[in-house]
Symmetry: C2
Subunit: 177 residues, 2 copies
């Protein structure tokens, strides 16, 4: 996994190949194939293992501030080369390898979703959220715009941008009475 990450950082995920990984690791190709069925899953494993300390959401009593903290931390990680492009490549791989998509969901998205929902649950209990707000959608609504910017328009995501997204979401879009 270390060899895979090194090579990916040096020449990008596109140039990454198992032959080189095996060579760099001083290992036969068989040994790699014995553990990972594909380049995609090896890369997924490498990337998630190294950043395993999943970003937790603090609880200071203010949902928006807490979400902001967590999101900014994630954004900072992705903005710090070479992690941004590598995560983009990972998501890209997930688009044509169902196994990578499944792994990404189970090992990264789902835990993150559960933490987000849990934090929103507390907020709702404290009256900081509309009582009928659909928590299951929370993750998609909060993360979606940022993933969109990161993956689709591929503009840089700044803290200011995070603020504006959170503002727009929490202020609502309808005119206030």
């Amino acid at each position: 996994m270390r060899a895979a990450l090194e090579l990916a950082r040096e020449s990008g995920y596109a140039k990454l190949n198992i032959e080189a990984v095996a060579a760099r690791a001083g290992v036969g190709k068989h040994t790699v194939y014995r553990r990972w069925p594909s380049k995609g899953l090896l890369f997924l494993d490498s990337l998630l293992t190294v950043n395993e300390p999943v970003l937790d959401i603090p609880d200071t009593g203010d949902v928006v501030a807490d979400l902001r903290r967590q999101i900014c931390a994630a954004v900072d990680l992705l903005g710090m080369p070479p992690w941004g492009p590598l995560y983009r490549d990972l998501v890209g791989e997930a688009q044509h390898d169902p196994a990578v998509a499944a792994g990404l969901n189970e090992r990264f998205i789902r835990p993150q979703t559960e933490k987000t929902v849990a934090r929103l649950e507390v907020a709702k209990a404290q009256g900081q959220l509309a009582p009928d707000f659909d928590l299951g959608l929370g993750m998609a609504i909060l993360s979606g715009p940022l993933y969109f910017t990161f993956l689709i328009t591929q503009e840089p995501v700044t803290h200011d941008y995070v603020d504006r997204v959170l503002d727009a979401l929490f202020a609502g879009m309808r005119p206030r009475h």
Copy 2:
């Protein structure tokens, strides 16, 4: 482009290769390479050309209903095999080919964004949106959650889901007064 789409629909984008496209089109490989520098851009061109009638947003006076109409139309297209997986592959390709990312933005995302912003502009002028709502974020906030579901969690996107997203966004998340 027709040959490329046929082959992609038959065996998926992953198996698509320029050699086969040239053969299917009854054409030399040079002729393909002369027009498209890469498989990704050929695919982008093929996919967008065939669906060029970009989905317009109607204006019945009710923003939410109009957005719902347009989004559901897009969702229906993506839910209709084989377009969903093909668009996923296209976005995937954009993650490691900057040229594809740029083309996707210029030819698909930007026009769509402009239409969305224009429609929101009207809505704001009619008082259906908060006067300080950040229209530039509109596209990301409206599309983001759906792209997230489509690309990341890869769950099916139903009309009901679209409704719930729009509800959550327009109802706001804060408790109402």
